[in-house]
């Protein structure tokens, strides 16, 4: 039985690392610009589809991967420069909902350009694997897991040790004060959208390979990614990583309990709900504070 748990643990960690990667991309942007970008999944989906298309055109893999990342950056910066500035002084909820509109636009464009024929995205590392607790784990999955940790560490160092990182944090805290202090707001925000877009492209590439190349599925990956980000209170990268991994493992483990197995997809919502309740423990509800 232990072996069975091991199987599902390893499987869950592999998927959880993808959720974590998505969550990390959301948190980076949220911490820098104050925007919770629900279009993250759609940007990842568009990037993955572009990758497939470039491969179909006969381009070598490395070129396709670079184009994937560039697509993520372009689509992210496009929104960050064209639409986000005009919403800069609106409430965080308005900013977040606006990105939903961008999601629908991107999803519509993807559906217009590509039909739903079966497609597959492959990386050379798919063919190499190691056995861990009875599960064959491909090097691609190991890369997903390792890169989520490396990215967390790297971004923490970036935020804490570099001037641009400091500027990003200042901007997220108070955009007006940051501008008064002489922080180049547009440039710093563009950097944040670039970083987030690159991560979206990278996540899309891994998702398209490890899960399936289905734009809708990749787009809605933003749901467990948001749940992971909520585990990190939309601020903490290490907690986001842990949250993503936990969601993946719980979701996988529920497959072992038959009555709940068909409901495994609820896991991100339940975990996020529990985390929100935990974070609000001991606090008064907003609408009863004035009583």
């Amino acid at each position: 039985m232990l072996n069975v748990y091991g199987l599902f643990l390893v499987s869950g960690l592999a998927v959880g690392s993808l959720y974590a990667l998505g969550g990390i991309g959301l948190v980076i942007l949220r911490r820098s610009t104050g925007v919770l970008n629900f279009a993250y999944g759609a940007i990842a989906a568009a990037s993955a589809m572009i990758c497939w298309q470039v491969v179909q055109w006969g381009m070598p893999g490395p070129i396709a991967w670079i184009v994937t990342i560039l697509t993520g950056i372009s689509l992210s910066v496009l929104y960050g420069r064209m639409i986000a500035p005009s919403l800069a002084w609106r409430a965080p909820t308005v900013k977040a909902v606006a990105t939903l509109g961008y999601t629908l636009i991107l999803l519509g464009l993807i559906g217009f350009v590509w039909d739903d024929s079966p497609r597959k995205l492959e990386l050379p590392t798919d063919k190499i694997g190691v056995w861990i607790l009875g599960v064959r784990v491909t090097v691609t999955r190991l890369i997903a897991f390792a890169s989520s940790i490396v990215i967390v560490i790297g971004v923490i160092l970036f935020f804490n040790r570099t001037r641009i990182g400091l500027n990003m944090r200042a901007l997220a805290d108070n955009r007006d004060h940051a501008a008064l202090l002489g922080i180049p707001v547009i440039r710093v925000e563009t950097m944040a959208w670039t970083l987030s877009g690159a991560l979206a492209g990278y996540t899309g590439l891994l998702f398209g390979d490890l899960v399936r190349l289905d734009p809708t599925v990749i787009t809605f990956m933003v749901i467990p990614a948001t749940a992971a980000a909520i585990c990190g209170r939309l601020e903490s990268l290490p907690l986001t990583l842990v949250g993503g991994l936990a969601i993946g493992v719980i979701e996988a483990m529920l497959a072992l309990y038959k009555p709940l197995a068909p409901l495994r997809s609820m896991t991100p919502f339940i975990v996020a709900g529990c985390v929100i309740l935990w974070m609000q423990r001991g606090q008064h509800l907003t609408f009863v504070q004035g009583d």
Partner: protein, 422 residues
């Protein structure tokens, strides 16, 4: 322009179909549509509707595309005794509210005499009652939910997951030695739940064991779905899924070296143009698929006609898949039924009666006679063929065979009453 990237694969597939079978290459000369007069129909149009679902996550427009091509060909060849068919197609975009709106628009506002080639499961569920209340028949072609097969006014030419899945299991039991099968399907009550439930009953009826593994349509963790089958200790996996998730699951199995741990069978959805490029060599000779209609490159007259008509009258980007074959043959049966009517007396009532009067018509695309009749449910197509995925294509391993399941008991009664046997 329907879209950019659809055109290339569609043209490539059309070219592939033509090249694959020499018999299809000169099929233009054998084209046959309706009255075959060679003269365009100019009379008062007969309004016919069609509803498809074409938006993320799926494009089910193959049936209406092929029906549109066939009706265009019929109109260019004398129409229905001089009257052209005005085919009005709506896309419900998988939106129940929109499905209700377009259903009402076609049935009540446009006053269509019938619907043909329908390919939206959402619309089917939403509008089944409307069709019955308004006395209009829907000759569908791309059904996948229980409402399609358990409604008085919907008759679909495709089998849907239930007969095709049982057909795959029947083959697996008889040829592959299956004892315990996992039915992996979507956790949708009138789709995966419905079909897998009947799979399990079928397995029990054969003294075997069946286990349902249901997953959310957007499930990401396919690895755990695969591991669940492993933990259940099944010997066969039935992929009761659309092509995309089925291929995702096969990829996970490939990753885990799972090809030889199970026997792999599937109903029709994975039989799709271009799937060979996606599956690769690993699955060659190891994936068995039950197909609801004839192979794309089969040499039958109706299949050749389908290839010729869609090539000449279809649009760039039209899907050429099983649903397309199904829509084509639905449109043909419909046209043949209309040609029996007095052209001056074609209205919804006479058309509904003519459709219900279709009994025992045959096609090389189907394994048994097609019929409608006056009944509370319809499933005329329940015999299929079995193919194996091999070297990037599909080879027939068992020609037409029927299934035996209690689900078909009321259908058998209908067939008996109509003097048919499959």
């Amino acid at each position: 322009m329907k879209n950019l990237m659809k055109i290339v694969p569609a043209l490539a597939f059309a070219a592939g179909v033509q090249a694959f079978s020499p018999a299809l290459a000169d099929s233009h000369s054998e084209m046959s549509c309706g009255m075959n007069t060679g003269k365009a129909a100019t009379g008062e149009p007969i309004k016919v509707g069609g509803i498809n679902g074409n938006a993320p996550p799926g494009d089910f427009s193959g049936g209406t595309d092929a029906a549109a091509a066939y009706f265009a060909c019929v109109n260019a060849n004398g129409g229905i005794n001089g009257r052209p068919i005005e085919y009005i197609v709506e896309n419900d975009q998988w939106n129940p509210e929109l499905a209700g709106q377009v259903g009402t628009k076609l049935v009540k506002d446009e006053g269509v005499v019938a619907l043909v080639g329908n390919g939206s499961v959402v619309s089917m569920a939403v509008n089944a009652k409307l069709y019955a209340d308004e006395g209009v028949m829907a000759m569908a072609s791309a059904c996948a939910i229980s409402e399609c097969y358990e409604s008085s006014n919907i008759v679909s030419t495709n089998q849907g997951p239930l007969p095709s899945g049982i057909g795959a299991l029947k083959f697996a039991i008889e040829e592959l030695g299956t004892e315990h099968a996992a039915c992996i399907g979507f956790n949708i009550p009138n789709n995966g739940g419905w079909a897998c439930d009947w799979m399990n009953r079928y397995m029990e009826s054969k003294g075997k064991k069946g286990t349902s593994i249901l997953m959310d349509p957007t499930a990401v963790d396919l690895n755990s779905v695969y591991l669940q089958a492993l933990a259940e200790r099944v010997d066969t996996i039935l992929l009761m899924l659309p092509a995309g998730p089925a291929i995702g699951l096969l990829k996970v199995a490939e990753e885990q070296g799972g090809r030889d741990l199970f026997k792999w069978v599937s109903p029709t959805p994975i039989y799709e143009p271009g799937v060979g490029e996606v599956l690769g060599d690993y699955w060659s000779g190891h994936l068995y698929v039950n197909i609801e209609l004839a192979q794309y490159d089969s040499d039958g007259a109706d299949n050749r006609n389908w290839a010729a008509v869609t090539a000449k009258y279809g649009k760039e980007g039209d899907r050429l898949d099983t649903f397309s074959q199904s829509g084509f043959i639905s449109a043909k049966f419909f046209t043949d039924a209309l040609l029996t009517l007095d052209p001056d007396k074609i209205d919804r009532a006479t058309v509904t009666e003519a459709i219900k009067g279709i009994v025992g018509v045959e096609s090389d695309l189907l394994c048994g006679p097609y019929y409608v009749g006056d009944a509370d449910r319809h499933m005329p197509n329940h015999a299929g063929r079995m193919v194996v995925y091999k070297d990037g294509g599909f080879e027939t391993v068992r020609d037409c065979y029927d299934i035996d399941t209690a689900y078909l008991d009321p259908i058998r009664e209908q067939e008996k009453a109509l003097g048919l046997s499959q």
